[in-house]
């Protein structure tokens, strides 16, 4: 395993820490994400969340750091492992929970499911479940923002495994050639589904070591350090907003659980797991906040309010009825229907 200490070279540690209010917001988000996903997992075990779901437990510092750095007009594109990124944009927890449960009150009325969380109103432009595709789509939104002359920036998250698929290559090249306002963030959690990324990749850092192939500078960041991810996000987003083109960030992290609900994650060496658990971004950040003088009661307040919010969201989602069946044949087309004939 790569020495994590090496990552301390990331810009953030030299940069000034984020302001206190930003840090508190980041902390609050991370706690909410964690509480939300743990609840989702419980509901799974109870058979209330159906299908599959891919938790980002342990990876919260990336979604939260970037989320805090984004402006309301910026666009998010995420993967099936997108709960955290959805919550990071301020999407209502209850609607997300209801979607996981396949209820009428779900974010997409149950039609999308866990892997496709989308809230266009919050510029959460979707969670995409085919590895790599959404990098090309993110480019499109960035191109559009550029052409329409807004200063909106696109942030596109994906996993380490996605760096070996063709769409990654095409998207990065086009973004660079067109100098698009897009930030690509690779969440390198060291595994694809069950196979270590190192077994199937020609370079050590699947994203950073390829930045040069697109004329970009490599950016490697400790993805379990929310101050670091925030700093990197601020810099890359500012660059994009200033018209200086795309960035490719690789955030090193680890998922605490398996790939998806079916997976206990047993293929990972116990020491590796323990080493990463000891670098859990949330207690680590909490301790840093305490050390920086935030008092315990402020943090406890955040934690309590998160727990409450998740409870309420769960109640609300559970109260939501199953979807009306007629929606099956709705919304294929802009006219609201699905007719293919006349």
């Amino acid at each position: 395993m790569k020495e994590l200490a090496d990552l301390a070279t990331s810009a953030s540690h030299e940069a000034a820490p984020p302001p206190r209010d930003v840090r508190l917001r980041i902390y609050a988000r991370m706690v909410e994400m964690r509480d939300f996903e743990k609840r989702a997992h419980d509901l799974f075990l109870q058979g209330l969340v159906k299908g599959t779901s891919h938790l980002g437990l342990g990876q919260e510092a990336i979604a939260a750091g970037f989320g805090a750095a984004m402006a309301p007009g910026d666009y998010t594109f995420a993967t099936y492992r997108g709960h955290n990124h959805t919550l990071a944009r301020g999407v209502a927890m209850a609607a997300v929970m209801a979607e996981l449960m396949g209820r009428a009150g779900g974010l997409m009325a149950g039609k999308g499911g866990s892997m496709h969380l989308t809230t266009v109103g919050k510029r959460m432009m979707g969670s995409y479940a085919i590895v790599g595709a959404h990098l090309t789509i993110a480019n499109g939104a960035a191109w559009s923002a550029k052409l329409r002359g807004t200063k909106d920036v696109v942030v596109c998250f994906f996993g380490d495994g996605a760096t070996n698929i063709g769409a990654f290559h095409e998207a990065l090249n086009l973004a660079a050639v067109w100098s698009l306002p897009v930030v690509f963030c690779c969440e390198n959690n060291r595994y694809m589904e069950y196979t270590p990324i190192s077994h199937v990749t020609a370079v050590e850092h699947p994203a950073a070591d390829r930045a040069a192939a697109y004329g970009l500078s490599p950016v490697l960041v400790d993805g379990n350090d929310a101050d670091a991810t925030y700093a990197v996000a601020v810099a890359a987003i500012a660059r994009a907003r200033a018209g200086e083109g795309p960035s490719l960030v690789e955030a090193e992290t680890y998922r605490h659980g398996g790939h998806s609900r079916a997976d206990p994650g047993k293929y990972r060496p116990e020491e590796e797991l323990q080493a990463w658990l000891s670098r859990d971004p949330i207690p680590r950040y909490r301790q840093r906040l305490v050390e920086s003088g935030v008092d315990a009661s402020t943090l406890e307040e955040i934690e309590l309010s998160s727990a409450r919010a998740v409870d309420e969201a769960t109640q609300e989602a559970m109260a939501s009825p199953p979807p009306d069946l007629f929606v099956v044949e709705r919304d294929v087309w802009a006219d609201g229907g699905s007719s293919w004939r006349r």
Binding site: T136, I137, A141, R148, A167, E170, R342
Partner: protein, 321 residues
């Protein structure tokens, strides 16, 4: 105007009308397209709106999708329709499903145009008729004009349509000429055209098979057999009404497809008629298609593979027998 020129004509009409219309693809700008169907657009609308891309079909289609969901109305070119296979994921898994999966949140007003079909002796990887690939995917509209006028009217309609439209230009028709009325031409998607009327049989064709079906109709007419020829014009929406009404009159249905045999649109149409209008039929539903083989390159072989006027005539006779 040629079918080819009608493409640039329609794109120019729409780009002039709506500043959110943009156009991207390989060699589409400076070179005016490898089929010269988009000549002049770069000069007229500039490099911000008419953009040459790398050979990156996934990136092209992904860019169109992302742009469409954020306020532009992109037109993307896939140079040969065979290359849809390289970006099929973005087309079939992303574009087609996005509105539905998001419960209507994402709108994707975009057009993907592509040169489709055989006849140019380009061999199996540059000659396919793949409109059925698209028809099989819920969430895509599918249009395939047979005349310059329809290129103009249907391409404009496709650009204005709020849903993703795959627009198949039959490459063997590019040099064909036809009247295109002055002024703005905009059609409605999903209306077939009855291009010849006759009471003995209904022949349904698409794109380059329409002129062939008309030739066959002339030959048959000389023999006293009067057929209706329907130009389908679009596969989704599919104008079942027009076809069924004609079959109710004639009692005979013959479809003429350039695509290989299995699972073509003709099969769909046949199954609809066999389900909903079985008792209108006075003879078998005959499908004339390219045999279920890749298209060969040599001129003699390609001509032998594609549906010929003779095979259409024979198909009608078989239905009437």
């Amino acid at each position: 105007m040629t079918y080819r020129d009608a493409v640039a004509h329609a794109i120019a009409q729409e780009m002039a009308r709506d500043p959110s219309v943009v156009f991207i693809g390989e060699d589409v700008g400076a070179a005016g397209g490898v089929f010269k169907a988009t000549v002049g657009l770069l000069d007229r609308f500039g490099p911000t709106r008419v953009v040459d891309t790398p050979i990156s079909e996934q990136a092209i289609i992904g860019a169109a999708m992302g742009a469409a969901m954020t306020g532009l109305r992109p037109i993307a070119e896939i140079m040969f329709s065979d290359f849809f296979a390289v970006c099929w994921d973005i087309v079939a898994n992303e574009i087609a499903k996005a509105r539905y999966m998001t419960n209507g949140q994402l709108a994707l007003p975009l057009v993907i145009r592509s040169a489709n079909g055989g006849g140019a002796r380009f061999g199996a990887q540059h000659s396919q008729s793949v409109e059925n690939w698209a028809m099989a995917i819920p969430g895509l509209k599918v249009v395939a004009p047979s005349t310059a006028r329809d290129v103009a009217g249907l391409l404009a309609a496709a650009v204005r349509d709020p849903d993703p439209v795959l627009f198949f230009e039959q490459k063997s028709l590019y040099p064909s000429r036809g009247e295109v009325p002055d002024g703005e031409v905009v059609d409605e998607l999903g209306r077939a055209a009855v291009v010849r009327r006759g009471s003995d049989a209904t022949v349904v064709a698409l794109a380059a098979m329409v002129p062939r079906a008309l030739e066959a109709a002339s030959l048959l007419c000389a023999d006293g057999v009067e057929v209706t020829v329907v130009d389908l014009r679009s596969l989704v929406p599919l104008d079942v009404t027009t076809v069924a009404a004609s079959v109710a009159e004639t009692g005979h249905l013959v479809t003429v497809e350039e695509n290989p045999r299995l699972c073509g649109w003709g099969a769909e149409l046949a199954s609809i008629i066999a389900e909903e209008h079985l008792f209108d039929l006075d003879g078998p539903i005959v499908r004339v298609t390219t045999p279920h083989v890749p298209l060969p390159a040599a001129d003699a072989l390609e001509d032998a593979a594609m549906p010929s006027v003779e095979r259409i005539v024979e198909g009608v006779r078989r239905s009437l027998a």
